[in-house]
Symmetry: D2
Subunit: 328 residues, 4 copies
Amino acid sequence: MSTKVKKIGVLTSGGDAPGMNAAIRAVVRTCAFHNIECAGIYRGYQGMIEGDFKEMGARSVNNIINKGGTILKSARSMEFMTPEGRKKAHENLVKNGIDGLVVIGGNGSFSGALLFNQEFNFPVIGIPGTIDNDIYGTSHTLGYDTALNTVVEVIDKIRDTASSHNRLFFIEVMGRDAGHIALNAGIGAGAEEILIPEEDMGLDRLLDSLRKSKASGKSSSIVVIAEGDKIGKNAFELKDYVEENMPEYDVRVSILGHMQRGGSPSCFDRVLASRLGVKAVESLLDGKSNYMAGLLKDEIVLTPLEQAVKGKSQVDKELIRVSDIVSI
Amino acid sequence: MSTKVKKIGVLTSGGDAPGMNAAIRAVVRTCAFHNIECAGIYRGYQGMIEGDFKEMGARSVNNIINKGGTILKSARSMEFMTPEGRKKAHENLVKNGIDGLVVIGGNGSFSGALLFNQEFNFPVIGIPGTIDNDIYGTSHTLGYDTALNTVVEVIDKIRDTASSHNRLFFIEVMGRDAGHIALNAGIGAGAEEILIPEEDMGLDRLLDSLRKSKASGKSSSIVVIAEGDKIGKNAFELKDYVEENMPEYDVRVSILGHMQRGGSPSCFDRVLASRLGVKAVESLLDGKSNYMAGLLKDEIVLTPLEQAVKGKSQVDKELIRVSDIVSI
Amino acid sequence: MSTKVKKIGVLTSGGDAPGMNAAIRAVVRTCAFHNIECAGIYRGYQGMIEGDFKEMGARSVNNIINKGGTILKSARSMEFMTPEGRKKAHENLVKNGIDGLVVIGGNGSFSGALLFNQEFNFPVIGIPGTIDNDIYGTSHTLGYDTALNTVVEVIDKIRDTASSHNRLFFIEVMGRDAGHIALNAGIGAGAEEILIPEEDMGLDRLLDSLRKSKASGKSSSIVVIAEGDKIGKNAFELKDYVEENMPEYDVRVSILGHMQRGGSPSCFDRVLASRLGVKAVESLLDGKSNYMAGLLKDEIVLTPLEQAVKGKSQVDKELIRVSDIVSI
Amino acid sequence: MSTKVKKIGVLTSGGDAPGMNAAIRAVVRTCAFHNIECAGIYRGYQGMIEGDFKEMGARSVNNIINKGGTILKSARSMEFMTPEGRKKAHENLVKNGIDGLVVIGGNGSFSGALLFNQEFNFPVIGIPGTIDNDIYGTSHTLGYDTALNTVVEVIDKIRDTASSHNRLFFIEVMGRDAGHIALNAGIGAGAEEILIPEEDMGLDRLLDSLRKSKASGKSSSIVVIAEGDKIGKNAFELKDYVEENMPEYDVRVSILGHMQRGGSPSCFDRVLASRLGVKAVESLLDGKSNYMAGLLKDEIVLTPLEQAVKGKSQVDKELIRVSDIVSI
């Protein structure tokens, strides 16, 4: 790439996550800092197809660093999956003088970005934004740390009532096919047991564990379940199973749901978003393309977008051992 | 009652609520202040039957004013519904020198207290503790204000993601047969529509209201539903109904559940608990019995327990009108 | 007033308070509901003088009910204290077709409104907005409940470290000449002692109380001081005095400051703001003027603005007794 | 060390920090898991000298993972700085059968541990607990992440009122000689300028930066100052200096103080505490001594205690550049 990028477009795509606004702010201001233009693209790829753009200067992102959600809105676009859709999108970018793209989103969004780059050789850098932390090439995705705190605060409240009544709670948390939220928030909330997709605990071991908990003198218990858990039963079926086999327990179920996606981002997510936003823009200015900016071993690094999409983020198995120990 | 009360027993019963610990603290310390003894009774009436008592001094309630749940635990007791159970309970009180009782709980707990008083002429004062605010004789029950803040904070988070995606959310809140939580938290959270048991809105008016919302340019909508709502459908059935009739909406459901019962009490609930605890003990010292201490028109007053049990707390219908106006 | 109000101006003035945005939203939407126009006036009376107005429709106040501060900004205006300033302000209102005014603020703002009304016979209704709760004619001002929760949450954090180190903390809270925040948040935070302007405790009684606290086995202590306290020493001087007289104490001081003014409003403040906003607009529509809408004994009522300005809001002295008992 | 450790003592020392209780819980439960005994030592080294010990089993640390402060209390001990004090402390450990020590604290606490180990060849492992993040050998100390969130939440509230009034705020945060809290919370809070000990900005550059902020259209500004900042003026002197040189600014000062030390730990701190507690105990069981368990590049590792004490933790200078860019 011989000519320098002159105007960057930024969009958020897929499920929203706390920290997306902080990342948009960083992208917009890094453009202002380096004296290039910036355009916000609304509703992800769909807005790119519809030409839903807005010029953004440093002042247009005032007071958003602490806001959940995304001021650019997000959407899933079926049309972008078609060659015609992507052609329209490209025409809109060209028409608006946009010659570089920052895509804030998850795996699906990155796949779209890859395809777009292949077809039009359009410079693109990804920023991982999803509470699920399921992206290869970064130890933390934007929104993940905030979601952990949200989950832990809610379970703290549930434990108040659980321990007042000596109850057993099954609490289902988000994470899609990944157990990151369940495992970390489970440890953080002091869960007695944690069920994640990466490890099939089996129903027998669960009953066994609950019996040990009871025998050890625990009066109430919290079991955290990842939504993608592989034990073969959802939270309500688990409740029935346990009540059948351990009638001494009064079991309740709580599905935490979409509240996990919202809220003011944690300091960690705001700082990470700021660093990734700076990196993304400066990478485009350096003539780089097809990378994702991420955090690895406390440093901001680039990973080829293709690896990010194909790779699999792993949960730290050592944490399962830690959980087994501290929940004794 | 000619002889002054010398030792007061305090218990929490029914569903737990934030502020119960603050009330226990106030009861214990008011006893200490007036130089009489105090015993905590664990697990409500069941602990009374089993003699699960503990002497409590001013220092034994340090650092609990800000804790959710109840350090005395709560339980529902089938045995207390039998004459034999109540006889055992009375014998335990007498054996422990307890000659006055403070019952922190809801309607069911007060019914038990009334029965107990009738059978044994035992002095008893009630303190209304439930998040549902469904008790006659007090404008606010302990835990209600805290639950409202919890609900509003959670819906704020959900709105972040709702407005990022232009979605419609049905959010079910607690309240048993009363719409207090739904109506007040609904207004506080800026809900577009609120469904409560006290008012059958009807499915047609709901659709109509959602259509008006959409037409008025609202990009996302929150509907708050009281768990005891009379519209005849639960949140999931409503979702299906709306999606069928308004396919342009992407509807999500969130059942907030037990988190509403926990959490550190609000300042309002802590102050109210302190005032009610002082009033309850001093009423017993004044020779009063069979009353509930409550808050009416900003003043702490006594209501005969029988009225509290039989009366019905009403939602403020004017609030329905306010909600209709501010959600335009 | 024979002709009906057709366009209402709304402004925030004086110190900002959580709930002001919720009140602005309610004013704007009540206008929309009754099909009259509404204009936001920026920076209080100063913006009125400068003609800094903006037309506001129902959608222009989306997603502000949960925001602290005021989107209309606030300012103190020296110019409005002059007849020339007020004349300019009036001309601007007339020029913009505004024929009714809602002033959200405190005592100073209401005095200005009164003067303005006397000079130009301009219809005006006040909404009490200040965290200090020092306004006659309402049991709660907007922002007061939120500030109480903010203070209590912060003192909860300070208590964590105070009790880990067996320390004594003097914590100064806002409230100007009124002890409402100190007294209620002090009880809510479990303060050992509370110093308010309405009651001169005297230094001897303070030392005495701290000695009793120590003797009773308390390992740490929190003293809450209203900023306008009359004991004649500020928090740092008190620290010196106590350390001199009770060298066994390691005393720390914390001035909570402006954080008390910010933050997302509590559910109570949001509902109150909604009710007051509706009442203010409908009062103007009813041809009323020179009143403040307030909450008294749980009902929304009007108080003549002159009384609101001249009257004095009282702290509930019974709370001082409650505090003495529960802090034993 | 040929014989395996049979009983571990655990203490917290120095300033308390959120996550210390989670670490105590992990130490106690890891002992239970490996079937060895554990004793809690109260008030740090002072309690060791006074023999203030308590046997702790898995159930004695229930429901503390979410509590701020330290249930073992903390204190600074002058006596432990004397050979006689340390001798007494050693005798108490021996008398109680304690043959391994976990010290949770900061640099001063680790120096004491080193000395103790040298004199008595007593096995000791450190866990870094301080909000200041100023310890070599770990990217994060316990409590640091929580403190960042506390600071950012408070500044969010202050910004509400700052932007309502177009004010400039100087906000002083903790951190002793290190700028970690100021730099990260400053970026997280969207501060316009950050003053840290590691970088002498100079008064001229500060004025220059504020003038640029004003010129760029910012209506309010937040400057975050580390308590150990080297600019040579404290926050109040800075206020005077700026007001003299930029009379257009209405400057306010807020010293956040001890609230930064308290509060329920973040999920990050709870998980880190759990991992470090497990590592500390298992290191003692492995015959290791004189190490600190820390987090480096996302992994739990041991650093020789001597290095931890002598080394200097560095702020990430790249973050200063990021702050300059995103605050444009």
